[in-house]
Amino acid sequence: MSTLEVELIERAKQGSHEAISELLSKEQNFILNFMYQLTGNRAEAEDLTQEALIMAYRKIHTFRYKARFRTWLSKIALNLFRQKYRQKRRHDSLILEEIMIPGEDGNPERKVIKREIQWCIIHTLQYHLPKKYRVVIVLRDLQNFSYKEISETLGWSISKTKTMLHRARQFFRSSLINAKCKAFTDDYCCTCEGAQNL
């Protein structure tokens, strides 16, 4: 944690509105992406982010430097996500247009394939992966958390974190392969049949 961040946190804990606003605005985009990767829905991600930031604002006095500020904030957001998604979710199909494609190279055929692969990845992440696996994959592979940070966020031991990440990635790969995702085969067809208990 940088000296500047510690100073900001200390000022925020003493009630500085300016300091907490600066701290939270730095993390806002990170939390928005984290929530989007878990929910797959921008509006829901924005709502959860806003709730998380408000909660962090109220709870900043309880921050004890046991982890990075970002890890602490992620934990708050994750708890909100868990509360909201405790019940089964309808198995909506994702809308292709909502999925953003990185690195467009202008080749129309490649664009279509890329789009299908992106759809399959996000679809698998959201609907085929149990929540415990999705969370650990999002933290590690999409948010680049270290094993230590994941264990702090999820309250797991390092050993459990490694095991869960290993199983999550295996499950994710198997789901893509079973769905005949073009990333692993040329014969694309999603075999998704039902809702996942999120």
Partner: protein, 57 residues
Amino acid sequence: MKCKKVISLLTEYCDDELSQKIRAAVKQHLDQCEECRTKHQECDKGIKLLKKLKPLD
């Protein structure tokens, strides 16, 4: 190192989280075992696919 052990270490291998000694042993096995090599490639591909997802602005 046996195949079962190598497979169990693939996640940490892909994340570069293994000690040099164990990493070298896994690599040596992968160089010789096609089945484990395929598993490693699939593991690596799965991670790369996820890392390519574009974040929101």
